[in-house]
């Protein structure tokens, strides 16, 4: 409502007249970043200022719990698969063949369509050396892009924010859900977490004076008057100042209000242009599509689909999950295509690990290692990438990965996000050609 013009003015102002302004402690984090950046003469060439309309967008979709890759991308031409899984295999005649050796679970028919339309790439056998089979630890490894024996504090997307998105809006990263994933953990901007319907404010019934005092106490002012007062000389470079707990809270409150006001405005003027399945993932992808089409300057969206930890009687539950995934992605693709922005979006799935080759005694599968990743988008170079892991040469009953997950990250960063992957990931990784 009345928020939007203010925001536009503020954004405009940020780009044009920020130098020489004063830094007050009520300035939101992203404003200060812009500040620091310009003060440092924006020398860093890796920094890209978002224009909000044309930059590439990444959607990271976590399949939480450890997706059973062998029942999603089925090596149906290999008898070893059927021998290892006498009761929970996908029958050969039901598999949707991709290349005569592997094919999709039949519930993934919508993804087969995307594959046939040239909008989907499948990376086979993705994992990492010395795989860890703990959900927590392996998720952490995938989220921080560390080696299996190293612990990193920041997430790989967080490091992308730190390296490439200094001074940007807090909505540069948006997580759908109430907790920020470790993927977004950053030294500086961590993005925002949102749950639909959440809005920061004193409440609807509040009268103007209550709302005003609420804003004041939370350090929220409508005009961050940066143009008056002292110089910014005291600010040295883009380093994070030590915020007190209360200052940190004030800034988060401001980020929340800026973010939720913008999102609220976007939701008012956008609508889905496809029929999404009535599942949490369908709802979340529908929301993401609206935020993208509404011009939120977000570079990376993050959401997750849970339930993949299929130790017991997995047949129905796993098939259902794959069906929900395929249906939701298919609707997302249709929606963004009609909105004319599918070319700007890349969706990447990941799961902390695949599952063991052999089924267990409870008609399920236990924690394993390598699994496929699915990459889709209007600009994807379709096809199968990497080699399918051997079913005969195993490491203690587990697949040996053929592609390091950081090869995929590196490719996404370098080729899609135009970001310095080696700097973000700590070293060079192999490039794939799916984008």
């Amino acid at each position: 409502m009345s928020q939007e013009p203010d925001l536009l003015t503020r954004r405009h102002f940020l780009r044009t007249s920020i130098l020489g302004a004063a830094l007050s402690w009520t300035v939101p984090i992203f404003v200060e970043r812009t500040f620091s950046l310009l003060n440092a003469e924006a020398a860093e060439i890796t920094t890209q200022i978002a224009t909000g309309k044309d930059h590439p967008i990444l959607v990271v979709l976590q399949l939480a719990g450890g997706n059973d890759g062998l029942n999603a991308l089925v090596p149906f031409a290999d008898d070893l698969y059927y021998r290892a899984r006498p009761t929970i295999n996908i029958p050969r005649d039901k598999v949707l063949s991709l290349d005569g050796y592997v094919g999709f679970n039949p519930r993934m028919a919508p993804l087969k369509n995307l594959f046939d339309q040239g909008k989907l790439a499948v990376i086979q056998g993705v994992g990492y050396p010395n795989p860890n089979r703990s959900h927590f630890r392996s998720t952490e490894i995938w989220q921080t892009a560390s080696d299996a024996d190293k612990y990193l504090k920041t997430g790989w997307i967080g490091r992308y924010f730190d390296n490439c998105c200094n001074g940007e809006d807090p909505t540069v990263g948006v997580t759908i859900g109430s907790q920020l994933p470790q993927t977004f953990t950053a030294e500086k901007n961590t993005g925002i977490a949102m749950t639909p319907g959440g809005r920061l404010g004193f409440g609807k019934e509040a009268d103007a004076s209550e709302q005003q005092v609420f804003n004041e106490l939370n350090g929220i002012t409508q005009d961050h008057d940066l143009s008056s007062g002292a110089s910014i000389g005291s600010l040295d470079g883009p380093s994070e100042p030590k915020l007190s707990a209360i200052e940190y809270l004030q800034r988060t409150a401001l980020d929340a209000q800026v973010g939720t006001d913008k999102i609220g405005a976007i939701l008012k003027r956008t609508k889905p242009e496809a029929v999404y399945p009535k599942t949490p993932l369908g709802n979340e992808l529908s929301l993401i599509a609206r935020l993208i089409s509404g011009g939120l300057p977000t570079r990376v969206y993050y959401t997750s689909q849970g339930g993949y930890d299929t130790h017991n009687a997995q047949e129905n539950s796993h098939n259902n999950l794959l069906g929900q995934l395929a249906d939701a992605l298919s609707a997302f693709s249709t929606d963004l295509s009609s909105k004319g922005i599918w070319d700007r979006v890349l969706v990447m799935t990941f799961s902390e690990f695949g599952r063991r080759v052999s089924e267990n005694a409870s008609k399920g599968t236990d924690h394993g290692t390598a699994a496929p990743m699915f990459i889709c988008g209007g600009n994807v170079k379709p096809g199968l990438y990497g080699n399918h892991p051997s079913l005969s040469t195993l490491d203690q009953g587990d697949l040996i990965h053929t592609v390091d997950f950081r090869d995929v990250y590196s490719t996404v960063l370098n080729r899609w996000m135009k970001a310095p992957a080696a700097k973000i990931l700590g070293r060079d990784f192999n490039a794939l050609s799916f984008v």
Binding site: A193, G198, S244, L249, P280
Partner: protein
């Protein structure tokens, strides 16, 4: 200067951690202690603490009256045996699915019950420091119901934390090494002499005692051999099975012997690194982050003597540093602190059952569900845009009574079935514990309307005629300190706009306003 010269050599830090002088003990220091060593207190209790002095107050916290809270209802070993049998004996996939659903539901109900029980205990306890330390040890020896799935084991572990909360760290660590919930969580009960599982041994050193960098991979392998033969019997009790135990010689931290698990812990605790690790973690939890290393060295020196927790806490709570400006308002309240303190000091009613679980989940901390074996990261990580927004929405709902009114315009439904704007209605407690196929269960069945805050417990009829008297009363409860003039005046401005005498809802609005400030999120 003169004093310094008379000090013996080597005590150049002896001014550190010196006792707070008597004249510096005030209502505000008492309130600071109440929030940190517990969950806040009523103004009259704080007045009493101010009068009786610091030493008496700390002694009272360290040696509290017995908490007579009865144990949680119907918490017995192996209580879902029958349901598990039904899963095992199911003859068709549908039957199995149904049996599994019943088991999951019964387990979840009992876990909600346990969370509720502990929350109420923290709310009413006469031994707040015991409960606070129980919470600390729960985050330290983190164990999650997500994997353990036994309410009984988790309750037993909670009682172990409570029993040794202020006792001896060595005793507690040994008790935890044979605690069935921990044994399930870190796979100790499957560790055999032929195949020792290294999970527990690794975390014991990395997270529970020494911290990274103070042991080698070899030490992990060797000590894992000492923690073999630990089993859980069908009554969910620890049992040692000697023929699964590796009694051979082990070289651990340069010492060779036929060590068993307890001896490994004894060797660990001889390392100064262990005393330092725990002292540092306690200081960070109770006082402020990133203390000077000299201060920690000094605490660790004391702790290393015998690993008694009481003297360590006594030193912390008596020290000038603990009451310094650096420590004041420096800690972001954890979700548990936020919820319990709101109940304890302001008297808001708390929801129970699955609603309470959902509240904790959206705040970012569910007791008995730490995110991983490292526990909760805490500090500023409690706060992000989503959790802060939720804290503010929750504040309103707790004060006004939880409602299921959809505040979103009815014609603009948000794209999620979980998007009712009442935060309590949209929580998804099932998301973590049940497969996504269960999303139909995102109902509001437990989000019944709670009674609104009883304003009469906060202010008198006389107070209501005077905005300043009213604000003074509720401010003292919400912020636990003497008023900060700026904050006080802004809230008073709002109060002055309301008709006198102040009506219940007007006062509730003012309480909510106080809770919806950065200041309320810290202690």
């Amino acid at each position: 200067m003169k004093l310094e010269q008379t000090k013996p050599a080597g005590s150049r830090n002896s001014s550190m951690l010196s006792q707070l002088p008597k004249e510096k003990w005030t209502y505000d220091t008492a309130a600071h202690l109440a929030a940190r060593a517990g969950f806040g207190e009523s103004p009259s209790r704080l007045e009493q603490w101010t009068q009786q002095g610091m030493e008496a107050t700390i002694q009272q916290l360290l040696h509290p009256d017995n908490d007579t809270t009865p144990p949680p209802n119907s918490m017995v070993p192996d209580q879902f045996a029958e349901l598990r049998e039904q899963v095992r004996d199911a003859t068709s996939p549908d039957q199995k699915k149904e049996a599994r659903r019943a088991l999951r539901q019964a387990t979840n109900q009992q876990l909600y019950h346990l969370i509720n029980w502990w929350t109420r205990r923290m709310l009413t306890t006469p031994a707040p420091l015991v409960e606070k330390m129980t919470l600390f040890w729960h985050g330290h020896f983190a164990t999650s119901a997500l994997k353990v799935r036994s309410p009984y084991k988790l309750w037993q572990q909670n009682e172990t934390f409570r029993h040794d909360a202020l006792g001896n760290f060595g005793t507690l660590t040994k008790a935890i090494s044979r605690d069935p919930a921990m044994m399930v969580y870190l796979d100790l009960q499957t560790s055999r002499s032929e195949h020792p599982n290294e999970n527990f041994a690794r975390e014991l050193m990395e997270l529970f005692t020494l911290g990274e960098g103070n042991y080698s991979e070899h030490d992990i392998k060797e000590s894992a051999r000492a923690f073999t033969g630990y089993r859980i019997d069908r009554f969910e009790e620890f049992r040692f099975v000697s023929n699964q135990f590796d009694g051979g010689a082990k070289t651990f931290l340069q010492q060779t012997g036929n060590w068993n698990g307890d001896q490994i812990i004894d060797i660990i605790l001889k390392q100064p690194a262990a005393a330092k690790f725990i002292s540092n973690k306690l200081w960070n939890f109770f006082a402020y982050e990133d203390p000077d290393s000299q201060l920690i060295d000094k605490l660790a020196e004391l702790f290393l003597q015998n690993y008694e927790i009481r003297p360590l806490l006594e030193t912390i709570f008596s020290s000038e540093e603990f009451y310094s400006q650096r420590a004041r308002n420096a800690i972001v309240k954890s979700p548990v602190q936020y919820v319990v303190e709101s109940g304890r000091t302001l008297g808001v009613n708390l929801p129970g059952g699955r609603t309470l679980f959902a509240v904790y989940q959206r705040l970012g901390q569910v007791p008995f569900y730490p995110p991983n074996v490292k526990g909760w990261e805490g500090g500023k990580s409690w706060i992000n845009t989503a959790t802060l927004t939720f804290r503010y929405q929750l504040a309103r709902q707790l004060v006004l009574g939880i409602r299921l009114v959809n505040e979103q315009p009815a014609k603009e439904p948000l794209p999620s079935p979980t998007a009712q704007s009442s935060p309590l209605a949209q929580a998804s407690p099932a998301a973590q514990t049940t497969p996504m196929t269960q999303t139909a269960s995102l109902t509001t069945q437990n989000a019944v309307r709670l009674p609104a805050l009883q304003v009469d417990q906060l202010v008198t009829a006389e107070d209501r005629k005077d905005p300043e008297a009213t604000i003074r009363k509720i401010y003292a409860r919400a912020f636990q300190t003497t008023p900060d003039p700026q904050l006080f005046d802004r809230i008073l401005d709002v109060a002055k706009l309301k008709p006198l005498p102040l009506a219940d809802d007007a006062i509730r609005d003012l309480v909510a306003l106080m809770m919806m400030t950065p200041n309320y999120q810290v202690c």
